[in-house]
Amino acid sequence: MKRRQFTAAALAATTFAAALPALAQDNTFKIGLILPMTGQQASTGRQIEAAARLYMAQNGDTVAGKKIQLIVKDDTSLPDTTRRLAQELVVNDKVNVLAGFGITPSALATAPIATQSKTPLVVMAAATSSITEASPYIVRTSFTLPQVSVALADWAPKNGIKKVVTLVSDYGPGIDAEKFFKERLTFNGGQVTEALRVPMRNPDFAPFLQKVRDLKPDAMFVFVPSGAGAAVMKQFLERGMDKAGIKMIATGDVTDDDQLNDMGDGALGVVSSHHYSAAHPSATNKKFVEAFGKANKGLRPNFMAVGGYDGMRVIYEALRTAKTTGKATPTGDALLAAMKGQIFESPRGPIFIDAQTRDVVQNVYLRKVEKKDGQLYNIEFDVIKDVKDPGKTR
């Protein structure tokens, strides 16, 4: 008799335990964060993951009665891997939102999955204009190269720079940067004498920079993905280009906050244009930089981190305000509708997710590299407000 009671009790307990996970399922909201955690773009992955976890630590992991679960996957910057991971996350883990995407090819490869499964996809890093047009479910919180390139092309002619040679990495964002910089500079009366493209794999800048040196322009406009900036800077100094009177103007990816301090004093005076600097003088940013440093052994956040931080904010807010029936998790379409049109204060400044293009509208700052408290920072000296991405074709 004792055994029968025991078996009955055990059976009841097991049934009860089995029911619990089912209940838990309904109350979790899963975010699939696909990032390059290893490989050339690993600093991107590291920064975004740190920022996402910081946001969750600061804002709790329960929103609208749902428990937020962050699933981080490493795609090693290979688009095929990204697509496979996205597929697994959507089909097996049943994530509610896909996020991350360190490089343009990764985002574009995953776009069809977002469309087919009606899952919102928040792009936190990739920067080519056409990404948001690849799927109606894509929302971006990072930036686009045209946004920041036209700012430099407006500033340069007013500061004695007429002849420019452009040097970009040969992929989506690089070509975007080159095209829009050239268009705007020519419109402003300047001239791009030569447009050089450096291959993505095995970038060896020495011969390209030597070519720029021999062309003797007023300035060299550079775009390389974050991480390769130090190599360009090194070659720029080694070839004595600053002494030959050639200025270096670049998008902020070259003077990436992550690597800037390590570049040495040779980077002083480089003018760049970007949407975020760790030295941005706002109270929100100060808090963000401090909290980020504290949680990550003194690491300085860069523009990738702020893209991740704001991306989480967009997701949280969408979950909070999405229209849903009763206590059910909002559908992908409802979440997407709640993501469009969000306007808030980010550590970078005010930002706005355009409802039509689902892309980010933000301030673009012109900065110069200066020393502050013994460390190198991008100090902002001018701003162009509320820049919409000029690269949209529709």
Partner: protein
Amino acid sequence: MLTILFDGVAYGMLLFILAVGLAVTMGLMNFINLAHGAFAMAGGYITVLLMQRLGVPFLVCLPLAFLGAALMGALLERTLYRPMYNKPHLDQVLFSIGLVFMAVASVDYFLGSSQQNIHLPVWLKGRTEIGSDAFMLGMGHYRLFIIAVCAALTVALQYVLTKTRFGSRLRASVDDQRVAAGLGINVNLVFLSTFAVGSGLAGLGGALGAEVLGLDPTFPLKFMVYFLIVVAVGGTSSITGPLLAALLLGIADVAGKYYIPKLGAFIVYSLMIAILIWRPQGLFVRKAAKSS
């Protein structure tokens, strides 16, 4: 143009130092060691860590990188490589590729994936310019340093190979392992020391190249193709072969990227294809070479 030639020579000599160990290993032990780049990476990281964490001056780091990589090579040769000598080539390739992935992953895990920056001493950072305009020769001091070191090493290697007893033992073992062993040459010791020196040289090359080529955990994979091209084109039966192949490769790469930036890196591969079609055994082959 002269500057491009100079840069190409510097790049070529660096490639030579990196690849000479591989050439000798492949010729000597008939072993396809695709993990050669991992020793170069080890040398590079030893230098970076010593300079950043312990403040060791750059010049002192170079021999330490050589020794560190050589020790690692000797250890791995004795434990992992030796059982693999008589296995088919495919097994050797799979084994060394596995080693590369392990090396890449462990460096990534312990030291992070970002590019490592070396802060050169001030006297290596300058630049000397001779001549003017089209015939200007701009020589970065660091690249001059690389050429000097690599030239000295080449002369030393050639001397050891041709004028010392160890060199003749090495050449004998390359020509015919069984006969050499029969004559009383301790072939195992020859293999061990050659592998160690080859890996040490790779480590030195990695340390020298950290400034020019960059250093991150994927270094062995990125540059393996270049090492293999040097060995394929230069042949494995002498060291002048790989030297000339490396110089050719370096100059072609740099000049190609300068004059035809759109084709850039492709120039090197087309040159390799052309040379191998013309001379499938490589540019320099000794007639009496026989593999055991």
